[in-house]
């Protein structure tokens, strides 16, 4: 199940989207999240969907893979769709099924909200699929840099994120290992009452915490030995390069947004 989930994962590649500057991609997605709310009729929603499809094609991520990976999220989408259908009681009554009454406005809202949700999920997933987590961190660090003036710990936050990202695979392996070791000792995480299951989590959590603390301690030592004493006076090895294409896609997004604005109902 976890293995099939692709939300938040990164697939290395050489596409146009992959090669954009992470700052440009982050700004693009943030702006897009706002732009999505401009759409309010069939035409503008259609344009949004088309736009998303173009981005997906340009990223060269296999659509089958995207859809397969986002199945758990699709369930959520269907759920929102149903909520709207069931609870919006405006417009003409379209049809009736027992106590369920479906109105025109409900159907409309349901479709629009679901589409909005869909393009948002696809767009953010494309961002994480085509940008390595560490580049996202770099991008965020630079974009948030102005906040340093108000004493916001931008460097520390970015370092925390990058270390967290670096250790995710390590900790996943570790979880798997400890889980298996306890299963081999007869612990059963998937059976019994809720109380039993909660009890079965303790043998997993305690060792995980112990090891995470040990790792943190070791890592702190290793960092200190290598001269880490905070963000002051540090130079950066990871450099970001803003290119013409980065400017261009943002300009294009602005034009697209303006177009949507004019076409909205």
């Amino acid at each position: 199940m976890m293995e099939k989930m692709i939300f938040g994962r990164f697939i290395p590649g050489e596409s146009f989207v992959h090669k954009l500057d992470p700052r440009a991609k982050l700004l693009f997605v943030f702006a897009f999240i706002v732009i999505v709310f401009i759409a309010n009729n069939a035409l503008t929603y259609g344009l949004l969907v088309a736009f998303t499809l173009v981005v997906i094609l340009m990223s060269r991520i296999k659509p089958y893979f995207l859809i397969n990976g986002l199945k758990p999220v699709l369930f959520l989408m269907i759920f929102t769709f149903l909520i709207h259908i069931l609870f919006t009681k405006e417009g003409d009554l379209l049809f009736e099924l027992g106590f369920v009454k479906v109105y025109e406005e409900g159907l409309r809202q349901g479709i629009f909200i679901s589409l909005r949700f869909l393009v948002l999920v696809f767009m953010t997933t494309i961002l994480t699929l085509t940008t390595s987590p560490i580049s996202i961190t770099d991008g965020l660090e630079v974009l948030l840099n102005p906040l340093k003036k108000v004493k916001f710990p931008v460097h520390e936050l970015a370092l925390m994120m990058s270390i967290a990202l670096r250790f995710i695979p390590t900790l996943m392996d570790e979880t798997d290992k400890i889980m298996k070791a306890q299963m081999a000792r007869g612990s059963d995480l998937s059976a019994g009452s809720l109380k039993d299951r909660i009890k079965a989590v303790v043998p997993l959590l305690v060792p995980l915490f112990v090891s995470a603390f040990k790792r943190a301690e070791d890592l702190a030592t290793a960092m200190e030995v290598r001269g880490y004493k905070g963000g002051e006076g540090r130079t950066r090895y990871r450099q970001l390069k803003w290119q013409l294409k980065d400017t261009l896609i943002l300009v294009f997004l602005v034009v697209f947004a303006a177009g949507l604005w004019m076409l909205r109902g």
Binding site: I134, R215, T235, Q239
Partner: protein, 281 residues
């Protein structure tokens, strides 16, 4: 030869309020010269890792002092000393800070404010020295333990240190990884004359050193060339260490009545002795 590091009657206790408890390090003195390779051996809990932490100021001695380049290690020169001293620890995973190999090697350079243009050159150079230059963008979980430790060595080398401390750096590795790391260190010594302190319970590793310091219960039990240390024989095994292969075999052969001139540390010597004492009469 000039002295690079010395410990002078250094003691350290994790529980200074309870003087009746055994000190982790108890009045240890020794010095290491530029270009030397020293192995510090002892069973787990003999105080050898505490010594490593004392040497670069992660712990402060309760008694005695530590000198780097004749200068007493204090809070004031701590960061300066650390920049000249590379250290590689036991667990390959827990010292990999960067997201990729090259980021990790650059970490110490970034901390020391080395400008970007210079960093690139140094990172590549350090990775070449440990033969990991083909792995620039690899992430740590796609590397073997031996490779991660070599990256850690490169991370230390990038700062061009005078001294490299290996704190049980090979103990969690498989034989192949251990071999890779030791080969790398030997080759580095040949090329750059780097000073090395290796803290270990692996005998083959200790045999590579110029001098061996044998720790037991926080005290310096013996000090000498590998030959002198391994000549202690049963004393070593009684204190939890092993004997080198050739040495163990020579003793067994003698016990079983095979004529030998003496006991040997290397296979070659033993083979020669077996031949001359038994077959070449």
């Amino acid at each position: 030869m000039a002295e690079i590091l010395s410990l002078n009657a250094v003691s350290f206790s994790y529980t200074p309020d309870e003087p009746e408890k055994r000190k982790a390090v108890d009045t240890v003195s020794f010095s290491i010269q530029r270009g030397e390779w020293i192995a510090i051996v002892g069973h787990n809990g003999s105080g050898k890792s505490t010594m490593a932490k004392l040497m670069n100021g992660l712990l402060v001695p309760t008694e005695g002092d530590i000198r780097f380049n004749q200068e007493v290690l204090t809070e004031h020169n701590l960061w300066d000393v650390r920049s000249q001293m590379g250290m590689v620890f036991q667990n390959p995973d827990n010292q990999f800070v960067g997201a990729t190999v090259q980021d990790d090697v650059a970490f110490a350079l970034e901390n020391n404010g080395v400008p970007f243009e210079e960093m690139v050159g140094r990172v590549h150079e350090a990775l070449q020295q440990v033969r990991m230059d083909g792995f620039l963008d690899h992430e740590p979980h796609h590397l073997s333990g031996g490779q991660k430790q070599r990256v850690a060595i490169a991370g230390a080398l990038a700062l061009r240190p005078k001294l490299l401390i290996l704190d049980e750096s090979t103990s969690m590795l498989d034989p192949q990884g251990r071999q890779e790391v030791l080969q790398t260190v030997m080759q580095l010594r040949e090329e750059t004359g780097l000073t090395v302190i290796s803290i270990t319970h692996d005998l083959e590793e200790a045999m590579l050193a110029d001098r061996v310091l044998f720790m037991n219960d926080g005290k310096k039990h013996a000090e000498g060339t590998p030959e002198q240390i391994f000549a202690l024989g049963d004393e070593l095994t009684a204190l939890g260490l092993d004997l080198p292969f050739a040495y163990k075999l020579s003793r067994l052969l003698q016990e079983n009545g095979v004529a030998l001139q003496g006991q040997h540390l290397t296979e070659e010597e033993l083979v020669n002795d077996i031949w001359t004492s038994n077959f070449n009469k």
